[in-house]
């Protein structure tokens, strides 16, 4: 079997006494799309944020590509943080575009600062990514002039322009109307078919079922089961998974 591209082992994150992420193990192979589902407050977002160190795990080991970091003995060094983040792109629930930049500059500036690309080069790439998400026409608009769905697509373009090996999606459609969410899911679906490796925290069961290769169910900080979408959705082993699914699927 091909070696995994991402390997999280025993990742644990505590907030005070609360264990948000409880010794989670997860392997992701290149090109794989894994959806993480589960009830609110289960630690899904905390877990995915551990992967690019927006939350620093208290324990465990994380490897992405050839960058490995062990947690538990002090803060990770800046070099470790950079090495992990260089391989990941993240899309947030609240978009988090830079409001004082146009769409084009939102996508171009990080490339110039991090990859030291020239302005022309960065803007050319930015236009290519904006075109890919269908928003070339909004290049000169400020985020405030764009709808939520457009802002999220710009945010996806911004992340893609950094050449990530792994895309992390933290409930990318939760802040949007279902109809608008569909256009985001469409972009994600096309990324998946381009073999982007993706970890997606989502409440969109249709996406989890039809786009992802695997579904992981997270409850109380732990992944309680993981498997093919069909197996999890149609024939969950865990009683807790059954309860969750019947609640969200309304059956």
């Amino acid at each position: 079997m091909e070696a995994s591209f991402v390997s999280a082992s025993s990742l644990t994150k505590r907030f005070g006494d609360h264990v948000a992420v409880d010794s989670v193990d997860l392997e992701v192979r290149r090109g794989e799309v894994i959806s993480i589902i589960g009830p609110s407050g289960a630690g899904k977002s905390s877990f995915i944020r551990c992967l690019n160190l927006l939350e620093v795990p208290d324990q465990g080991t994380l490897r992405i590509g050839d960058a490995t970091t062990d947690f538990g003995a002090g803060r990770p060094t800046a070099a470790h943080v950079r090495a992990l983040r260089a391989q990941t792109g993240m899309v947030f629930q609240s978009f988090n575009l830079f409001p004082h930049f146009t769409a084009l500059k939102n996508v171009a500036l990080p490339q110039m600062r991090v990859h030291k690309r020239s302005k022309a080069e960065a803007e050319e790439r930015a236009m290519a990514e904006l075109t890919r998400v269908g928003l070339a026409s909004k290049a000169n608009a400020y985020p405030a002039e764009c709808s939520g769905g457009q802002q999220q697509r710009i945010a996806i373009a911004r992340a893609l322009a950094m050449d990530p090996q792994l895309m992390l999606f933290d409930e990318p459609t939760s802040g949007l109307d279902p109809e608008i969410g569909a256009e985001i899911l469409q972009v994600m679906r096309s990324l998946a078919s381009d073999d982007m490796t993706m970890l997606v925290v989502t409440h969109e069961m249709e996406f989890a079922r039809h786009v992802s290769n695997q579904v992981a169910v997270m409850v109380d900080g732990a992944i309680i089961e993981q498997g093919s979408p069909d197996a999890i959705m149609s024939n969950p082993e865990h009683e807790r998974t059954r309860r969750f699914l019947s609640a969200v699927l309304g059956r």
């Binding site: 690019n52 927006l54 983040r85 260089a86 993240m90 409001p99 004082h100 990080p110 991090v114 950094m162």
Partner: protein, 214 residues
């Protein structure tokens, strides 16, 4: 009549110089002070709050007298203008730092997170992402503070700086008509504050329209 008005109006030179001088120094020196406020270490943050609390908790006039008369006793003689500039600058620094601190809290955590997730370094994050938004968020408060400094600068007349109030006082002693003399000085303060307010409002309106930053 005209030479009386001219004599008083000339005081605006010191009023303006001390206001702008202390504002500029405050705007710059508040940045390192903000660094203390945002330190990871609680002790350093404690030092920041103590400094700001002490500076803001003592009346400006008392600071001015402490600087002018008190420091003189220590063997360092400051001219009235130097003592005034020093006092107003220190006070401006403390207030500006608090304004910056409030502005930083107004920047959503998501901005830092997005910058971090994109792997922007600390310097680039501050320069490209945080500072421009901070400046936009605090510009109205800074303008208010500059108008406050303009009015506080009247205190420097008590240590002998020949500002608007000092000169209005001199003219009152020569000619009486205090109502007229100080009324005229007050009018000039009012006129001086107008450009600051108008400037700030126009910048802010432009920013709010364009970027939708409150």
């Amino acid at each position: 009549m005209l030479d009386v008005l001219g004599y008083i109006a000339l005081g605006a030179t010191w009023t303006i110089a001390l206001t702008l001088g202390s504002a500029a120094i405050g705007i710059v020196l508040a940045v390192p002070l903000l660094g203390l406020a945002r330190s990871r270490f609680r002790v350093v943050r404690g030092i920041y709050s103590s400094i700001v609390h002490v500076i803001r908790g003592v009346p400006t006039l008392v600071w001015l007298f402490l600087t002018f008369f008190g420091v003189g006793q220590l063997g360092i003689t400051l001219t009235p203008v130097a003592a005034s500039l020093l006092t107003l600058s220190v006070i401006a620094t403390a207030y500006m730092a608090e304004i910056y601190r409030g502005g930083m809290q107004a920047i959503p955590a998501g901005q830092w997170e997005a910058a971090g997730a994109l792997n922007l370094g600390r310097f680039a994050t501050l320069r490209d992402i945080i500072c421009p938004q901070l400046f936009r968020a605090v510009s109205p408060s800074i303008a208010t503070q500059v108008i406050g400094l303009l009015k506080d600068s009247a205190l420097v007349s008590t240590v002998g700086v020949t500002d608007l109030v000092f000169r209005a006082g001199v003219m009152t002693q020569y000619h009486a008509h205090g109502l007229f003399m100080f009324g005229f000085a007050g009018l000039i303060y009012l006129l001086l504050s107008i450009p600051v307010a108008v400037f700030s409002r126009s910048i802010h309106a432009r920013i709010t329209r364009k970027y939708a930053i409150a």
